[in-house]
């Protein structure tokens, strides 16, 4: 890459700089088309529906609803992407586990009047136990995950329906409902403004932290004499991300502020993003999915890694179950149907490889958002729900086809 010195601004020089910048931009896009394709697609889908719904898609209320309605998919997608990374394994039981956990919390809170915190802790432990059960069969007995979790889907759905005797448990106390319906209270509410200042402030702080971290990373890499993208690309990327964060928090601020679900999801994304990219166990999951034999011969206990991946999935499924039960304000035998399919689709749309070893948590989140925006956009524009399903199926196929074809092209 050529470095551009800030010389005197004569017209010839400006043109040259412009050409270099353009070339760089084109090269950058070419090299990173796979990486950013889904993000671009998400942007296009948002623009498309924004126009189609005459601006209603991005109304503050609808943006908030997007988060509230799709929170459970986002949580499940995080766990699912780890399963897929570990070697193309999937978990078909997560929908049933969500319902089962709903049944558990319903029984504990509604019937037995247990306090919320204890009930949630018990629910999470049961989720871990379910994960351990399935993980045992998958990792140690080596029954394909598809079969184990298909069995799990039937087992936990059946047990839950039996437990609830086919009835719906409701209502839950207000406090429990707040998990999905509540917002972070506005500590700056004294102002005579129709805005949630806390949300805006939070957005601002997050944008500031992000900028700081990015600059630090860049300086670190510079210090080590490692290659960095050109400064203007860096700035453009930074500005875009900051704009999205600020725009998003502004939209939230116009409605009721930051939903509690968003805090839960945001925390989970941060933790798992860090976990997958920066920690040793995270690296083990990628290594195992990339080549289990090589991972084993490098001294990695792949059985244990696979087992723990499923325990983790159980815990996340139970978090999703709690969030969903709270939103429904009911524990129902019918809850969570097809959740697993949404979560799996989100991962693949987000660029995970069906064979394992490739994919990211952020990718899965983007995939889940694509599905979510499609859901909401089509609902707002009154598309028949049957057609909605067909469209989602088509998008999944096209997203994966694009991924496969672009990789083929790269390898040639």
């Amino acid at each position: 890459m050529e470095t551009i010195k800030s010389g005197k601004s004569n017209p010839m020089r400006k043109e040259k700089v412009l050409i270099i910048i353009l070339n760089n931009l084109v090269g950058f896009l070419k090299n990173n088309i796979g990486k950013y394709a889904m993000l671009i697609a998400l942007g296009l889908i948002i623009i498309f529906f924004q126009i189609r719904t005459e601006g209603r898609l991005l109304l503050p209320m609808n943006v908030t609803n997007l988060i509230l309605q799709n929170g459970y998919v986002l949580i499940l997608a995080i766990g699912m992407v780890l399963c897929i990374l570990s070697g193309g394994n999937i978990d078909l039981s997560v929908g049933a586990v969500c319902a089962f956990i709903g049944g558990v919390t319903g029984t504990l809170i509604v019937n037995m009047k247990m306090d919320m915190v204890s009930a949630i802790i018990i629910a999470l432990l049961i989720g871990a136990a379910i994960g351990a059960w399935q993980g045992f069969w998958i990792a140690y007995v080596r029954i394909p995950s598809f079969i184990v979790t298909l069995a799990g889907m039937l087992i936990f759905r059946g047990l839950n329906t039996y437990w609830l005797k086919g009835l719906t448990l409701s209502p839950f106390p207000k406090k429990f409902q707040q998990i999905s319906a509540g917002f972070i209270p506005d500590i700056f509410s004294g102002f005579e403004l129709d805005l949630n200042v806390t949300a805006l402030m939070a957005g601002f702080v997050i944008a500031l932290i992000y900028t700081g971290l990015q600059i630090k990373k860049r300086l670190d890499r510079k210090k080590q004499n490692l290659k960095c993208p050109m400064i203007f690309l860096f700035v453009i990327k930074l500005m875009l991300v900051v704009a999205v964060i600020m725009g998003f928090s502004y939209l939230l601020a116009q409605h009721k502020g930051i939903p509690i679900v968003l805090v839960i999801i945001g925390t989970l994304i941060l933790i798992y993003h860090f976990f997958t990219l920066k920690t040793v166990p995270g690296r083990y999951i990628y290594a195992m999915g990339g080549n289990e034999k090589a991972a084993k011969l490098s001294g990695i206990n792949t059985n244990k890694v696979l087992f723990l991946t499923y325990v983790n999935m159980g815990v996340l499924a139970s978090i999703a179950g709690i969030v969903f039960t709270s939103r429904l304000n009911a524990a129902s035998p019918q809850a969570g149907v097809n959740f697993e399919l949404d979560a799996i689709a989100a991962c693949f749309i987000g660029g995970a490889s069906a064979y394992g070893g490739v994919g990211t948590v952020v990718g899965a989140i983007i995939g889940a958002l694509v599905m979510g925006v499609l859901n909401n956009g089509m609902s707002i524009s009154n598309v028949d729900s049957a057609i909605q399903m067909a469209v989602k199926g088509f998008v999944l196929l096209m997203a994966v086809a694009f991924d496969v074809l672009s990789k083929k092209k790269l390898s040639q």
Partner: protein, 529 residues
């Protein structure tokens, strides 16, 4: 070495390919050249087979035997190689294996290609079903397969599943299958490698009988005693070129003669000069026995005892399938086999190694013979591959320091001369030699005391080989004990200070560098096979 070569190849009375009476040749392969990326597998090979004979094709691993047969059977289609194939007087252009089978050329691979859960009858007519309009006639399938089974002398119900009969019988079914295709030229790639004495004997008899029926066969085999027993002619391949063709009745035909042809190549300076600074005995494996992981009671490694000094490079030589890899893997944290018994000692102290993690912690490293499927994570970059077994060295509380990782990888990229723009390059984009250096780097970073290298130069070019030998010598000079496994004899002789010869799971010889020659190693192997 040199005098052997001179006495062998310059002898006037051996047969030169090409001056055959053309009418008698069922097959003539002329000037066949086949290039793989980076390697010339076949270089102007001429190969002629007389109608109605059993023609043996011999050579070391990697000499090009299988490649030549793959060219002949259409697995490498016309255009992927250069040269001419003339079969029964006509030039042949095969697009795939179907084309060659239509002409009556059938190849039986070392790895049998049968479906275990289908019956004998179904397998015989697989891809060639007795069917009308797509509907299979089961009666004629079984009646006809019965006929072919009789011809190969196999008494089995044609409804028996393939998985329920032994390898020897499976081999016969393969031949029956070939007969069902109206075979004129049958190619057998190491047909007796997996068979016991009796089954091998039967198979060879069958070949002789088929010869009476006018079926020509090409027999690829390492077992020279078999070759001498049944073959009418023997062609020796070495490094992708035809060395010579010997005929039965020729006074020169003998095991020694063939061995010379197989290994008698010019030894230029392909190995860096190295004098080992041998220390005390450092690593020992005693009374090592290993059983097959799935087949009950099958012993794979039998009473193996080896020891390695500090700073010494010890070779384990032997043909493919002699148990070298299984031995190495079983020592490396019981990564292979069942009911492993014996002891591992380091500096005279017994090591308790239950799994690979323990092995690595105890200073062992194993560089696999198959870097693509077992050594590397191809879709990941150099940095991730190098740090994988030793992530604890670049992390604190399980959090990886990426900068530290990059520094380490960068260090190995420079020192091992890995040709790549950066450590962020995915290893699938590197050449074989550079991939191998990444694998070496990965294990050197784990800082082992004992390094087991399994075929570390397989499939890489001569230049990269030299570099890897140099790396190995440096490691020995640092006082590490090196176990060097290779099926290439010149390499073992060029690199190792001492050589164990392994065959069928046993150590069948131990030779010092100064006593060892290619002939003496080959003789050790053949004496016990």
């Amino acid at each position: 070495m040199k005098d052997l070569k001179a006495s062998g190849l310059d002898a006037p009375s051996f047969y030169l390919p090409g001056d055959f009476n053309m009418n008698k040749n069922i097959l003539e392969m002329k000037n066949i050249t086949k290039v793989f990326p980076g390697v010339k597998a076949l270089n102007n090979v001429n190969f002629h087979v007389v109608s109605g004979e059993i023609h043996a094709l011999v050579g070391e691993n990697g000499a090009g035997k299988s490649t030549l047969m793959n060219v002949l059977s259409g697995i490498y289609s016309h255009g992927q190689y250069t040269g001419e194939i003339i079969f029964q007087g006509k030039e042949c252009i095969f697009k795939d294996i179907k084309d060659s089978e239509k002409m009556g050329i059938v190849i039986i691979h070392q790895e049998l290609a049968m479906v275990p859960y289908l019956s004998i009858g179904e397998n015989i007519f697989l891809g060639n079903e007795r069917a009308k309009a797509g509907i299979i006639n089961w009666d004629s399938t079984h009646v006809e397969s019965e006929k072919f089974l009789k011809r190969v002398g196999l008494k089995e119900d044609t409804h028996t599943l393939i998985k329920d009969i032994g390898v020897g019988k499976q081999q016969l079914v393969e031949i029956a299958k070939a007969l069902s295709k109206n075979v004129k030229l049958l190619i057998l790639d190491e047909p007796t490698a997996a068979l016991n004495e009796e089954d091998s004997e039967n198979l060879l008899k069958l070949l002789m009988e088929m010869k009476k029926d006018g079926i020509t066969s090409i027999l690829i085999s390492h077992k020279l005693n078999e070759v001498l027993k049944v073959a009418d002619s023997v062609t020796v391949l070495c490094d992708g070129s035809t060395i010579e063709t010997l005929k039965k009745g020729d006074s020169l035909i003998s095991e020694d003669r063939i061995i010379k042809g197989m290994v008698g190549r010019e030894l230029v300076d392909r190995y860096p000069k190295h004098v080992s600074k041998k220390g005390e005995v450092y690593f020992e494996v005693k009374d090592w026995n290993v059983y097959h992981p799935f087949i009950d009671g099958k012993k794979i490694i039998k009473d193996v005892n080896i020891k390695v000094h500090r700073g010494e490079i010890v070779g384990i030589s032997g043909l493919m399938g002699s148990g070298r890899t299984e031995f190495a893997l079983s020592v490396f944290g019981k990564a292979y086999g069942r009911n492993i018994s014996g002891s591992i000692l380091k500096e005279g102290k017994k090591l308790q190694i239950k799994n690979i993690r323990h092995a690595i912690k105890n200073g062992l490293a194993y560089v696999t013979e198959d870097r693509k499927t077992a050594g590397l994570i191809l879709m990941q970059d150099i940095k991730n591959n190098i740090s994988l077994p030793s992530l604890d060295k670049v992390s604190k509380q399980n959090v990886i320091s990426e900068n530290e990782e990059i520094k380490v990888a960068e260090n190995y990229r420079k020192n091992l001369n890995i040709k790549s723009p950066s450590v962020f390059q995915k290893v699938c984009n590197l050449s074989g030699g550079n991939q191998q250096k990444v694998v070496l780097g990965k294990w050197i970073f784990s800082d082992p005391d004992v390094l087991i290298l399994d075929e570390p130069t397989r499939g890489i070019d001569v230049g990269a080989k030299y570099e890897i030998y140099t790396i190995i010598n440096n490691l020995a000079d640092q006082g590490k004990s090196i176990i060097f496994i290779s099926s290439e004899l010149p390499e073992v002789l060029g690199v190792c200070d001492r050589i164990y010869v392994m065959n069928e799971g046993r150590i069948v010889g131990e030779l010092d560098r100064k006593d060892a020659s290619q002939e003496s190693i080959m003789k050790c192997i053949i004496r016990y096979s």
